[in-house]
């Protein structure tokens, strides 16, 4: 096997990932030359850490978009799970593993409700999740009664910031993300469920005719997205050590997650999903935003930088993809 061919094949199949890694590394190197502190291990670690919560949400979003849906309700789901787990942990010292199960449960149930509305009542997903966005936000207020979480048990803090074993200099959240990414990649690439959701994203009528229970797949995918958003809420709680009623919604994480998924190479019209791209996209965003601080760019321009980044990467991806399709036809 020629290595050159191998490289070519990797470039062809994994072009988006290679490009994102390349651009991110280039940015890190350039910034490192300009500002040596940028490449300090500490800073690199926090750029990684800072992208974990968004990555988790965006992984779920990637599944939904690959199925040709969209999920705006991830933001309140993140907030709800952070609030519920946080308040219980704060007041009653809820054991971590129960919080774990609880956050997943909340996400699965409310996510599945989204899926049910989309599949059973055939309401467009953007409308459904726009509606449940309001409803789930309300749940946060009802549950919290306007209070907030300001301290969490040590175990939670450890999960959000600590290390698994002293000799491994990778923080637990990053490990968690890697595990989730591996599970998601397996789910999408190597299970019948994953391939079925791509079939639904390509052509739902054809998928139905091929014997795929389209409704069930839809419900499951929204449940999965809800679960990941909700789990991200727990990680958010553990990482920041706090939760307010506007966690998630205040940061517009629903829009961020869509942007990151698209930057990562998942087309808005579905049919394909690039999970590694999504995580790399989220990391890229984190690096760009940190770089802006190091370059002393005034804070008000950060969101403009984000906007330009979305346009540039999506545009570059489209170009490449069109070129590849043309090549395949010829």
């Amino acid at each position: 096997m020629g290595t050159k061919d191998d490289i070519e094949r990797v470039l062809r199949r994994r072009g988006r990932e290679v490009a994102l890694v390349g651009v991110t590394l280039a940015l890190v190197v350039v910034l490192g030359i300009l500002q040596p502190r940028f490449v300090h291990l500490e800073n690199l670690r926090f750029m990684l850490l800072g992208s974990v919560v968004l990555s988790l949400v965006a992984l779920g979003q990637t599944f939904v978009i690959a199925m040709r849906g969209i999920d705006l309700s991830v933001a309140p789901l993140l907030g709800l799970s952070a609030m519920v787990c946080g308040l219980l942990a704060q007041s009653q010292g809820l054991p971590l593993w129960i919080a774990f199960a609880l956050s997943l449960g909340i996400g699965v149930v409310l996510g599945a409700f989204n899926g049910l509305l989309v599949s059973a009542l055939s309401i467009p997903p953007i409308v459904v999740t726009l509606g449940t966005y309001s409803i789930y936000s309300g749940f946060i207020f009802i549950y919290s009664q306007g209070t907030q979480v300001f301290s969490i048990p040590a175990a939670y803090g450890h999960l959000g910031n600590g290390y698994l074993v002293p000799w491994l200099p990778i923080p637990i959240p990053v490990l968690v993300l890697l595990v989730v990414l591996a599970l998601c990649s397996f789910l999408l690439g190597y299970t019948r469920f994953g391939r079925a959701l791509l079939a639904v994203g390509n052509n739902d009528a054809a998928a139905y005719n091929a014997g795929i229970p389209v409704g069930g797949i839809r419900i499951a995918v929204y449940a999965l997205s809800g679960m990941l958003a909700s789990f991200a809420g727990l990680m958010f709680l553990c990482y920041t050590g706090s939760a307010t009623v506007t966690a998630g919604t205040g940061d517009h994480i629903e829009l961020q997650s869509i942007a990151v998924a698209l930057v990562g190479g998942t087309p808005i019209n579905g049919g394909r999903g690039n999970l590694i791209g999504t995580v790399l996209g989220s990391l890229f965003l984190s690096v760009v935003l940190t770089a802006l601080v190091f370059l002393r760019v005034p804070a008000i321009w950060y969101s403009a930088g984000e906007g330009l980044m979305i346009l540039a990467t999506v545009q570059a991806g489209l170009r490449r993809h069109r070129a590849r399709d043309a090549e395949a036809v010829a």
């Binding site: 052509n203 054809a206 998928a207 005719n209 014997g211 579905g270 049919g271």
Partner: protein, 528 residues
């Protein structure tokens, strides 16, 4: 089937029996108050091809959907090898080894050919952690395509395949799922004559191997060529069922339409004038076609014959300003219209009726009137920028009368109309602009026999009124019936020009496959 059951099910259909007999017994089907099928019996036998014939709306597709488990019959039942079957979903049919190849297989644009073949039936491996077995998928896909001698790359994205290739991949899927009963829902309409041959070759081989096949068509020549048994449906009733030998083409036609139909013949009168309507010189749009020269007079009907993909549609779209002109000129009368955009051409009296009604011809969820006026809204009387409703309705009503569109009201949407009536609306949309030049792309595709004749008369009337007409058609009989002159296009070039009595089904077909050498090239291409 519930989601849980599906996730746990073992995979592809069981199948495996040699030589199956599949039978529809006294099938009846109602949609609400409308009866679509009554008391239909049909028997599919191993090693034979059963053809279901009938006009559009006769119930052919409904019968197929029942056989394939997509619909449940209202009365009657189906039997496989003497055992009564109850099929709740297409997947249940697959499990019993019954497979329906749709006319235009639905595309999964982003999937690879190999994966598309296994959608819904992914083989898995691993004892505890069931995972999709990509190695098996690729090797089995390759094997089946090889068995059918199809040269289609299994890693190609599905969006790069042609309709014919998709159909063949569907056929391969049936084999892959070890389905012994394969139903083809009107497969030939979107195919070129050559692709039809390829398909029939495969069908014959399958029949020879003992597969049970059935096929829908309303093209009598094809039916006579491929069928062993024939069932003719009319208005949901069975009006004839026998072996092929019991019918001839005329009897099939008369059974289908319920009256004697005169055989298709050349029209008797020509309306060609001396006035030049269109002249095309050296027109090129790479890679679709190059150096196309022809001219057209008012009142003349010019046919463009050729295979699908030969570049006919592209020529029409380029003249109509939808594609970029690489080289060459187009003149309308004496004015140069090269590169003029379509909205401008419409004003100058050019009309193009595209082939695909649903995709290009008409907005199906809009009303009849709205569709008819959409080709040129400026002709509706306007005051202060607002279109006069009354005047618009007048235009619509006139068109409905002139084109004999059958509808319950002008504000019916096209979704509520039959295919033939939809096509008439598309015609009305363009012809009511009173164009000097009309380009018709496959004007009778998906239209039943009765409506076809009406459309031919319409075209004839147009020519009589001095309009120059270009007809693109893959049906040689249609060209013979209509045209004063026929240009044969092969691989983007005009390879022959036939006029008057030279135009016969044989001559047209022979010239557009570009001679024997070209035919061989075409064979290779079809597989590629």
């Amino acid at each position: 089937m519930s989601f849980a059951q599906w996730a746990a099910s073992p995979g592809p259909g069981v199948g495996g029996h040699e030589g199956r007999i599949y039978r529809a017994c006294n099938i009846g089907k109602r949609f609400g108050p409308v009866t679509v099928l009554r008391d239909v019996d049909a028997t599919l036998r191993a090693g034979r091809v059963l053809t279901i014939m009938g006009e559009n709306g006769a119930g052919k597709s409904t019968l197929f959907k029942i056989l394939a488990g997509q619909l449940r019959p209202t009365s009657g039942h189906i039997e496989l090898d003497g055992q009564e079957l109850s099929l709740g979903a297409p997947s249940a049919a697959h499990a019993h080894g019954i497979y329906l190849v749709p006319q235009e297989p639905m595309l999964m644009p982003e999937l690879s050919v190999a994966e598309m073949m296994f959608v819904g039936h992914m083989p898995t491996s691993g004892r505890f952690l069931k995972r999709v077995d990509w190695r098996a998928i690729r090797s089995r896909a390759r094997a089946v395509l090889d068995a059918l001698e199809l040269d289609i790359g299994i890693d190609r994205p599905a969006k790069t395949l042609s309709i014919a290739q998709l159909q063949l991949v569907e056929c391969a899927k049936a084999l892959l799922h070890e389905c012994r009963v394969i139903l083809f829902d009107e497969p030939t309409s979107p195919l070129t004559a050559h692709e039809v041959e390829t398909l029939f070759g495969i069908m014959r081989r399958l029949a020879g191997d003992g597969y049970t096949l059935s096929f829908i068509s309303h093209r009598t020549e094809e039916v006579m060529e491929i069928s062993d048994d024939i069932v003719v449906l009319r208005d949901g009733r069975m009006v004839g069922a026998a072996e092929r030998g019991a019918f001839d083409r005329a009897s099939l036609l008369s059974l289908m339409v319920g009256r004697e139909l005169r055989t298709v013949s050349r029209r008797t009168k020509s309306h060609v004038t001396q006035e030049l309507a269109l002249s095309v010189k050296g027109l090129t749009h790479e890679p679709s076609f190059r150096d196309v020269d022809f001219s057209l007079r008012r009142g003349e009907i010019l046919g463009l014959a050729g295979l699908i993909g030969a570049g006919r549609t592209e020529i029409a779209e380029t003249i109509f300003g939808l594609r970029q002109v690489d080289r060459g000129t187009v003149k309308l009368g004496n004015t140069d219209i090269t590169g003029v955009p379509s909205h401008d051409l419409i004003r100058r009296g050019v009309a193009y009726v595209p082939e695909d009604r649903g995709r290009h011809g008409a907005v199906l969820p809009m009303t009849i009137t709205e569709n008819i006026t959409s080709s040129r809204m400026e002709r509706v009387r306007q005051t202060a920028g607002l279109m006069s409703r009354g005047h618009e309705t007048e235009i619509g009503a006139k068109a409905v009368r002139d084109f004999r569109i059958r509808c319950a009201g002008l504000d019916q949407t096209l979704l509520e109309l039959s295919g033939g009536n939809q096509q008439k609306v598309v015609f009305a949309k363009w012809i009511s602009t009173e164009p000097r030049l009309v380009i018709l792309d496959e004007p009778t595709r998906g239209v039943d026999v009765g409506a076809k004749e009406e459309i031919y008369e319409l075209i004839d009337r147009m020519a009589a009124s001095g309009t120059a007409v270009v007809v693109i058609s893959s049906e040689s009989e249609e060209l013979v019936r209509l045209c004063d002159r026929v240009l044969c296009i092969y691989e983007g070039r005009i390879v022959a020009e036939l006029a008057g009595e030279e135009i016969t089904p044989q001559s047209v077909t022979a010239s557009y496959v570009g001679g024997s050498q070209a035919r061989d090239a075409e064979f290779e291409k079809a597989g590629a």
